[in-house]
């Protein structure tokens, strides 16, 4: 690599906030090891140490605070909550596969049952229960039998009152994999379940330790100490239990995914073929139904009409009603924030250019900008909801109304930094550049696009970067209230459902929001540096 290219690479790394890898690269090249080691110490080890201290402090502090949902989650619980969210995504895939398996079986069942109707349709795609088809369906059913049992194992075993009963339950399982998993559950989860339930019983005695009249100071103190230690120990046991439950669930899902993946590809091909044939049959059926209905109106009766109707209903395309997973919620949030950001930019940049070019227009807009700039999203949202509700009503809307509400609220809040910076950038275009434009007699549009806008570009991008930051921050609040199915709604739902994982889930969301915000900012920063042309001249 040439020296120049190498330097470019280094400055690129710095731009995308990966400057901390540079000392490692230089060290590998053997450039001044002492300097590099010092750079690594200050640039890598110190931040890592700070993170470590933060995690440690968090871990200690979290155990001291007991809320109605248990202890405040520490790093372990949050990691486990993250695992459970990821587990849900894989589980959703399994459920989807199962849904289509049932649909397939149902459809093939109807094909056999209503042969009369099928024969009436003339030549149709192959959906007969041929040996190949049956075999494929059976393979998949067998896989799902095993999966179902696997997913049930921990539930069945952990309600056992003691280890012996649990072991007996495990022996009753049909599949080797479930028995192995069951053994693990008996070994690791069951003790925690038992410990927790005994701690819970102990806690139920706690009202005994409420202060009563006539307690001396000493008794009061010991009662309160006992109560607090019991509550803490209960919460700690619960936290351990939840983490272990999550681990076992993940294990079960892992194995289930493994079983699904083990389905041979020839079987998969056959299954896909069945699905394709089923969807090819759908239009034939509906066409036939239309014809029959028309014939009937003309007086001719069709004796299998009811059956045809049932067939048509079962073969029509229905989307899988999947649950929102965490990833899809993140994607929704990103989509919303970008929609709002684009709306904001489309308004702010042209308006900013106009304000920057003309002092009078700037004076006209300035008071409005200054007044609207500090308004919180929570104040905008109700207005947006009512106005959008009045203007945007359709039976089959292209966008969800909650999406539009959130996006417009984001736009209203993130408009201002771009507007102000664009106006500033345009207004502070170097006077000499404008003189050049005057001497060359550039037309108005050429002056704007060849001189003013390029000169203002770095500041415009500064504005855009600030806007995206504001937009992302505002989005969560907007989504919470508008019920847009993104991260904001996730936080709100978690808060509302009040499960034992509530706090850890919200903390996962907090970290996710933070990390995505950081990535967005880095992307914008890189873009901003891309359009800045070296030193100002």
């Amino acid at each position: 690599m040439s020296n120049e290219a190498f330097n470019k690479l280094l400055s690129f790394l710095r731009t995308i906030r990966f400057g901390w890898v540079i000392p490692f690269i230089l060290l590998a090249r053997g450039e001044e090891p002492k300097v590099q080691l010092r750079a690594i110490l200050s640039g890598v080890i110190v931040p890592l140490l700070a993170i470590g201290i933060f995690l440690f402090g968090w871990n200690i502090a979290s155990k001291q605070i007991v809320t109605k949902f248990g202890t405040v989650p520490g790093p372990r619980q949050v990691t486990s909550a993250w695992g459970s969210l990821m587990n849900e995504i894989r589980l959703e895939k399994i459920k989807k596969e199962d849904h289509f398996r049932r649909l397939r079986e149902k459809r093939l069942g109807y094909v056999t049952k209503y042969e009369a109707v099928i024969n009436d349709l003339g030549p149709i795609p192959d959906l007969k229960p041929s040996p190949k088809n049956t075999e494929a369906l059976e393979t998949l059913s067998a896989a799902f039998e095993e999966i179902e049992e696997l997913l049930e194992v921990s539930n069945k075993v952990s309600i056992a009152p003691d280890a012996d009963t649990a072991k007996k339950t495990v022996e009753g399982f049909n599949f080797e994999s479930s028995r192995t998993l069951g053994a693990t559950v008996v070994q690791s989860l069951l003790p925690l379940e038992l410990a927790y339930s005994s701690a819970e019983q102990e806690w139920n005695l706690a009202p005994k330790y409420n202060p009563v009249e006539g307690d001396t100071e000493e008794i009061l103190q010991s009662k309160s100490a006992l109560k607090s230690s019991r509550s803490k120990s209960l919460a700690a046991k619960k936290a351990d239990l939840l983490i272990e439950r999550q681990r076992i669930t993940s294990l079960a899902t892992d194995q289930s995914v493994g079983i699904l993946e083990a389905v041979p590809s020839s079987t998969r091909r056959t299954l896909r073929k069945i699905d394709a044939n089923a969807s090819a049959l759908a239009p034939i059926l509906s066409e036939k139904l239309t014809r029959v209905l028309a014939d009937e109106a003309a007086g001719t009766k069709y004796k299998n009409k009811a059956k045809l109707k049932i067939m048509n209903k079962n073969f029509s395309e229905k989307p899988y009603p999947g649950k929102d997973t965490y990833v899809s919620q993140i994607l929704t949030s990103l989509k919303t924030v970008f929609a709002g950001f684009i709306i904001a930019s489309l308004i702010a940049i042209p308006l900013g250019v106009v304000c920057g070019l003309n002092k009078t227009i700037n004076n006209a807009f300035n008071p409005l900008i200054q007044i609207f700039k500090p308004v919180s999203p929570l104040a905008w949202l109700p207005i947006v909801m009512i106005v959008v509700g009045a203007l945007y009503s359709s039976d089959d809307p292209m966008f969800e109304i909650s999406f539009i509400n959130s996006a417009i609220t984001v736009a209203l809040c993130s408009l201002w930094p771009t507007l102000v910076n664009t106006a500033l950038g345009v207004a502070s275009t170097d006077k000499d550049f404008l003189n050049v434009a005057r001497v060359l007699k550039l037309s108005w549009s050429k002056k704007i696009f060849k001189v003013v806008l390029p000169a203002a570009l770095p500041l415009i991008f500064t504005g855009l970067r600030l806007s995206l930051g504001v937009g992302w921050m505002v989005l969560i609040a907007a989504e919470m209230l508008a019920q847009n199915p993104g991260l904001g709604k996730f936080v709100w739902d978690m808060f509302q459902n009040g499960s034992s994982e509530t706090l850890s889930m919200i903390m996962v969301a907090v970290f996710t929001i933070g990390i995505i915000g950081f990535v967005l900012d880095t992307v914008m920063l890189s873009l901003q540096q891309l359009v800045s042309f070296g030193e100002a001249i």
Binding site: D432, N435, V439, L440, K441, V451, A455, F533, G534, I537
Partner: protein, 305 residues
């Protein structure tokens, strides 16, 4: 008949009590193909004068005429080379020059325009840096691009506004020679604004001192009858050179400099309020630190002639 003619031109800025007269009673005749240098103090209104000629500013009184036509707006006929280059930093050398060429010769074929751009970049010896951006060039190279851009416009008159003011002495000397070479090739009319008397004498056919502002006006025009090409090493011993130099400097320090005597200018004085030592500080009421209010004052400068 004069090619460029300034008649009784006056220019001031501001209104009412804030008004400052910059230029008064400017009369200037320049013949076609002449190289005229205008020498004066910094802040005397040299840039205002060249902006008037360029049409970037309008005179309050009097007229500026080029070939008997009143100058009312900027035009590519009067190309300027600015002191701070004013190259567009997001365009490379080629694009900076071709922006001008494409704008001024829209009827030419792209190939011909390209040839024009390359010709003038070649003329200032920058062909190797064709695709570099201004940030990658040195000050001298940037000014060359600026000169190439002005020349490529094929103007009737070339206005140089302290083009070499920001350069170091060595680069300046090289560029002076280069500009002289280029000028000798096609004898374009040139107005050079400078604060360097030697530069004026070395380059121009005629040198005109501009008195100190405010209310600056042009002094006596002094022809430079030194044969070209002028050698900067020899010229110091040339009696003609010394005579012109003395005459210009005498004017600038004597007659032309006198106008400075009543110069009034705004001044920011450090106005310090001392620390209050009588006050016993507590946590809530800390001792007030000395304050610097920076009051604006007017200062009257007397200049010895």
């Amino acid at each position: 008949m004069a090619f460029l003619e300034l008649k009784n031109v006056e220019k001031g800025f501001g209104t009412g009590s804030e008004r400052t007269e910059i230029l008064t009673d400017i009369n200037l005749d320049i013949k076609e193909g002449e190289f005229v240098a205008i020498v004066g103090y910094s802040g005397s209104g040299k840039t205002t004068l060249i902006s008037l000629i360029a049409g970037l500013l309008h005179p309050d009184i009097g007229t500026v005429k080029l070939e008997d036509e009143i100058v009312s707006e900027p035009s590519p006929d009067r190309a300027i080379v600015f002191q701070n280059y004013s190259l567009l930093p997001w365009l490379n050398v080629f694009e900076n020059v071709s922006l001008a060429v494409d704008q001024i010769f829209p009827s030419w074929t792209p190939a011909k325009r390209r040839e024009q751009v390359e010709k003038y970049i070649g003329m200032v010896n920058l062909t190797p840096a064709l695709l570099k951006t201004p940030a990658e060039l040195s000050g001298g190279m940037r000014q060359r691009v600026s000169v190439a851009r002005a020349l490529a416009m094929e103007p009737k008159i070339l206005l140089l506004d302290e083009p070499l003011g920001a350069l170091d002495a060595l680069t300046r000397a090289v560029l002076q020679d280069e500009i002289c070479h280029i000028w000798e090739r096609d004898k374009k009319t040139v107005v050079l604004i400078t604060n360097d008397v030697d530069e004026g004498i070395l380059m121009a056919d005629r040198i005109i001192p501009l008195s100190a502002g405010p209310k600056a006006s042009l002094g006596k025009s002094i022809p430079v009858n030194i044969p070209r090409p002028r050698d900067r090493k020899e010229i110091n011993n040339n009696p003609e050179y010394r005579r012109i130099r003395k005459e210009v400097i005498d004017y600038l320090l004597g007659e032309g400099g006198k106008k400075r005597d009543s110069l009034e200018r705004a001044l920011t004085l450090p106005d310090i309020e001392p620390e209050d030592l009588t006050h016993q500080p507590t946590f809530f009421t800390p001792r007030r630190a000395p304050k610097r209010r920076g009051e604006k004052k007017k200062e009257n400068i007397e200049v010895a002639a």
